[in-house]
């Protein structure tokens, strides 16, 4: 287990900082209690009664993903690799989010399924459903462990409590509000967390920028110390581990931008659940599109501070130059906070970090309990009980999954760069899923047997790439292995699905209405544009177009 270098990282928190932290926790629990009053059925608990406005679900969509991985992992990547890390946002998120909103959301929201695995059930039947539900549930528990571990290590640094005590206390806080208020509590807290995270990172970035002498100061320092590679996003060889520029660009565009990102954003129920909780088709479509706008700007608050830490914090500079130091890249943000922030804003920065880790973990728990309760328990184990049974079941599942996450937190602690670890998980679970979904949504001939076999063989393909990279058969440093694994999973899944489909019998067309593009009437796929959905600024396709243009411009400026 990684033991943080205590004296170096211990932040000089004073009474005011603890007051600000305590205030934050009071609000978090208060939202849990307020949300509990509105929970009266399992649909309220698991999908917020499908009643939330788009800006709330849109911000929650981003905040659910703005967990420890993003804040700590991306600032670590920023310190280590520099600008190429931007790809995780501009190539690896935005296009996929827009695609989800414009193309896929009509099927998710329109078919009124309660989860992504339930869509699999309706489209491909039980085998694919079970594979998807179980692999998703396992992935969520592992990722919840990562978030929990990072949350606990912050508490450990701040208060000096033993790591296992911090793990358990942090788990109890998340459990208390997700168990009380269900998805509403998680979503409302995610919106609050989003703003607290921004309030934490914005001052840090501003002060950091002034400290290094503005943008030109940062550029000078980094190019003098580490070379200009870290200042332009393309071709990003350091990040992918490919020697050739062409392969590197290909890896980023196809591996990260297409397979990994589309797999993650369009089929991951953690994200899709937020959109499913919104109040109309138009709002559901707008959820990821509205989220795309803040998502574009988050790297400036996460990667830039990481780069500033790499260029100005003593220990980080030693780590980058000699590779030997008693700190890790994951500590970049904490070290910068220690160096720059006075008491007061330091308390808010700490609240922001804790907020982000709790957001991530709460999102994992709230999507896990939905899938476990609806797709595993209700579908296969205890059927046909009254709704109140499943509501209380959901609460108990939350408790159980928290206990398991405490266990997986200790698995996560074995990896030094958490981003690598998570990319591995995503490529194992999500890349084949996306291939199956996209084929299933647009090709009505695809059969139930193809649904599950594609998933199984796709996952096996990325698993073997993962094992080859671990054992040294494939030489790919950086995150290239997960890009290759994702690509392999996608290709294998498509090939297997097509071959199996041609050899087996498809479902009758009547059962696929609302699930497959060609068989769904256009009016069922189109959001209304009257009443609360009226106005050009609420049209999903137009908003998505604006977002796309901005992201292209960003890539040109920082390319």
């Amino acid at each position: 287990m990684h033991v943080l270098a205590q004296e170096q990282l211990r932040l000089d928190a004073g009474p005011v900082d603890y007051l600000l932290l305590a205030l934050y926790f009071a609000f978090v629990l208060g939202i849990g209690l307020l949300a509990r009053r509105s929970v009266s059925s399992s649909l309220d608990f698991f999908l917020s009664g499908r009643s939330l406005p788009a800006w709330v679900t849109g911000l929650a969509f981003i905040a659910a993903n703005l967990g420890a991985v993003e804040i700590i992992g991306m600032s670590a990547n920023g310190a280590q690799y520099g600008m190429p890390t931007m790809h995780y946002f501009w190539v690896g998120a935005i296009p996929a989010m827009l695609f989800l909103g414009v193309v896929m959301m009509p099927f998710y929201y329109g078919s009124k399924v309660r989860s992504v695995p339930e869509f699999m059930l309706r489209r491909f039947g039980k085998a694919a459903h079970l594979v998807n539900a179980i692999s998703f549930a396992v992935a969520q528990l592992l990722i919840a462990g990562v978030n929990l571990f990072l949350l606990a290590s912050i508490v450990n640094v701040l208060l000096g409590w033993p790591l296992w005590v911090s793990v358990i206390i942090a788990a109890l806080i998340v459990l208390s509000y997700t168990g009380l208020g269900g998805l509403s509590a998680a979503i409302y807290n995610e919106v609050l967390q989003f703003f607290v995270i921004v309030a934490a990172l914005l001052p840090l970035t501003v002060v950091g920028m002034i400290k290094v002498g503005g943008w030109s100061g940062l550029v000078d320092k980094i190019s003098a110390q580490y070379g200009a590679n870290e200042l332009s996003a393309w071709p990003g060889n350091e990040l992918t581990g490919f020697g050739s520029n062409f392969l590197s660009v290909l890896g980023i565009v196809f591996g990260l931008g297409f397979v990994l990102a589309f797999g993650y954003w369009t089929t991951n129920f953690v994200e899709v659940q937020r959109a499913m909780a919104s109040k109309s088709m138009s709002a559901a479509q707008r959820t990821p599109i509205i989220g795309a706008f803040p998502k574009m700007l988050i790297p400036f608050l996460v990667i830039i501070p990481g780069m500033i830490a790499g260029a100005s914090v003593q220990e980080m500079m030693a780590l980058k130059q000699t590779g030997e130091s008693n700190v890790e890249y994951n500590d970049a943000l904490l070290l910068l906070m220690r160096d720059l922030l006075p008491n007061g804003i330091l308390g808010i920065a700490l609240a922001g970090l804790l907020a982000s880790f709790m957001a991530g973990m709460a999102a994992n728990l709230s999507s896990f309990n939905t899938v476990f309760t609806y797709d595993i328990w209700q579908a296969y184990i205890v059927r046909n009980r009254p709704d109140s049974y499943y509501l209380s079941m959901g609460r108990w599942v939350t408790v159980g999954s928290t206990v398991v996450a405490i266990g997986t937190a200790f698995i996560a602690s074995g990896y030094s760069n958490l981003m690598d670890y998570l990319q591995q998980l995503f490529s194992l679970f999500n890349a084949p899923l996306f291939a199956t979904f996209i084929l299933g949504m647009f090709w009505k001939r695809m059969t139930p047997a193809a649904g599950w076999s594609g998933l199984v063989f796709g996952t096996a393909a990325s698993l073997s790439v993962f094992l080859m990279a671990e054992t040294g058969v494939l030489e790919l440093p950086g995150q290239g292995a997960s890009f290759v694994g994702a690509g392999a999973a996608f290709v294998v899944d498509i090939v297997v699905s097509v071959v199996v489909s041609l050899a087996t019998r498809p479902k009758p067309a009547a059962e696929l209405v609302g699930l497959v593009y060609g068989l769904t009437p256009k009016e069922d796929r189109t959001a209304s544009n009257t009443g609360e959905d009226a106005g050009w600024y609420r049209r999903p396709a137009l908003l998505a177009g604006i977002a796309l243009v901005i992201v292209v411009v960003l890539n040109i400026i920082f390319g």
Partner: protein, 91 residues
């Protein structure tokens, strides 16, 4: 923190009747006040020097108060309208 408007708590189908904007505004009013006061009275010159010469407490405190004000204004201009009959399809 304020549970919003005139909706009361009847009709169990209404998830999300309280206005999250007011909750966010309330937290940021408190945060803004604490930071502004710290910036005015509680930040030593050593700390200011450490933060590249910026009194970051004061500036972020003011920023948070402005943000909170904007959210209060938004909630006031566009209150949540709770429909009397909700059309969710659950039992």
């Amino acid at each position: 923190m304020s549970a919003s408007n005139e909706n009361g708590s009847r009709g169990g189908q209404r998830a999300g009747v309280f206005d999250v904007r007011q909750v966010i505004a309330a937290l940021f009013v408190l945060y803004g006040l604490v930071c502004t006061l710290m910036g005015l009275f509680g930040t030593s010159s050593r700390e200011i020097e450490q933060a590249a010469g910026v009194n970051i407490n004061l500036w972020s405190g003011i920023g948070m108060l402005v943000f909170a004000g904007a959210f209060i204004l938004w909630g006031w201009l566009r209150p949540i309208i709770v429909p009397t009959e909700s059309d969710t399809e659950s039992s």
